[in-house]
Amino acid sequence: MRQISFETIVSNVKDMCILANHYLSNDMCSALEEAVEKEKSELGKKILNQLQENLEIADKEQIPICQDTGMAVFFVEVGQEAHIDGGLLTDAINEGVRKGYTEGYLRKSVVGDPIERINTKDNTPAVIHYDIVAGDKIKITLAPKGFGSENMSRVFMLKPADGIEGVKEAILTAVKDAGPNACPPMVVGVGIGGTFEKSALMAKQALTREFSARPTIPWVKDLEDEMLEKINKLGIGPGGLGGSTTALAVNINTYATHIAGLPVAINICCHVNRHITREL
């Protein structure tokens, strides 16, 4: 068993919270930069330029890119040969979130109970998804998720007879309904197959995939291309104020499903699609 200390997890998670809220990944930065050139609307171009300026200010002055620094969502791959020394992994992750959000001047946006709605004041608890894998490492991906776009996400339980055309319609419906509320240009994460909750989880995880890492299944890759083109023809544009840049990417994950079902989940993310990964 390889030992990884509780404190190592805490300090890494803390740093990840702060970094993810001040810097976008390289693929997101490039996609936003390229969008300025391609955008057909003048107002749209102006907004995309403001987003560039926003990223520069966030970096230079250490102001979070967006005030909604999100609920902290984690995907954690735990190697079977790794052992956390000094406490529970979940506690270590939450302690890292607590420190990151408090010491990093990030907004505390979590309420402890969905109806009573009292702010927990340290942005915990995080939402953590674990996967047990081979090896002795722990790979942590953090995706702080803002709720302007989260609120516009959908799960459709389609019938097998709806087929790929039904899937396309579901994606377009979700994006159209989201419109300006989701702070376009958006990134669209899609999960097709599995069960109700598996499709939603795949859609969320798809948002953390690098744009250059394309699907190996030919129809999935084609569907990503086709949907990106169609979404950008909707006219929603930057800020929802009209234009040709409505989405920067459509990332689709798929899984086996039941003979009676075709679940499709669409998790929408704004242009502040934050994610960061570390392997410990």
Binding site: K40, S41, L43, I47, Q50, L51, E53, N54, L55, I57, A58, E61, Q62, I63, P64, I65, C66, Q67, D68, T69, Y105, L106, R107, K108, S109, R117, N119, K121, G146, G148, N151, G179, P180, N181, C183, K230, K233, L234, G235, I236, G237, G239, G240, L241, G242, G243, S244, C270, H271, V272
Partner: protein
Amino acid sequence: MEHKIITPITKEITATLHSGDYVFITGEIYVARDAAHKRMNEALDKGEELPIPIENSTIYYMGPSPAREGRPIGSAGPTTASRMDKYAPRLLDLGLKAMIGKGKRSPEVIDAIMRNKGVYFAAVGGAGALLSKCIKSSEVICYDDLGAEAIRKLYVEDFPVIVVIDSDGNNLYETAIKEFNSL
């Protein structure tokens, strides 16, 4: 068209603003979002006074991140306005003139905007670092216990917004999307 306006925003000012115009706002504006609206609504239900002077006021739907030392505010971009739709018509009828947020509004809010000659502006969502640079001072004036959701008074200089719904009810979200739709 571009405008530079100074608060308070009156109906004489809103009459000059048209859907699609770019506007720079200078002056005092208030900040309130979900929890503060709920509380203001409850205060009105009980017959109590509102905690802000509502006549010709501007409310920015926003919840900032904490300010670093020596700065007035942290990241400060708009939040989704539709969550305030339930409360906005009542406030507009009481004198609220301008709202700053992002995203669609309900038909009830659009009616109330037209009835009261108000205006709905969008600030660029997700540009919280950039927008914070136009905020020169920020003071929590009530509901301190709500943290990021407390009511604040801001002084802004050339705060950039776009007229989405004007006092005649024209809606940029609908017209602009149609213009660029090619599907």
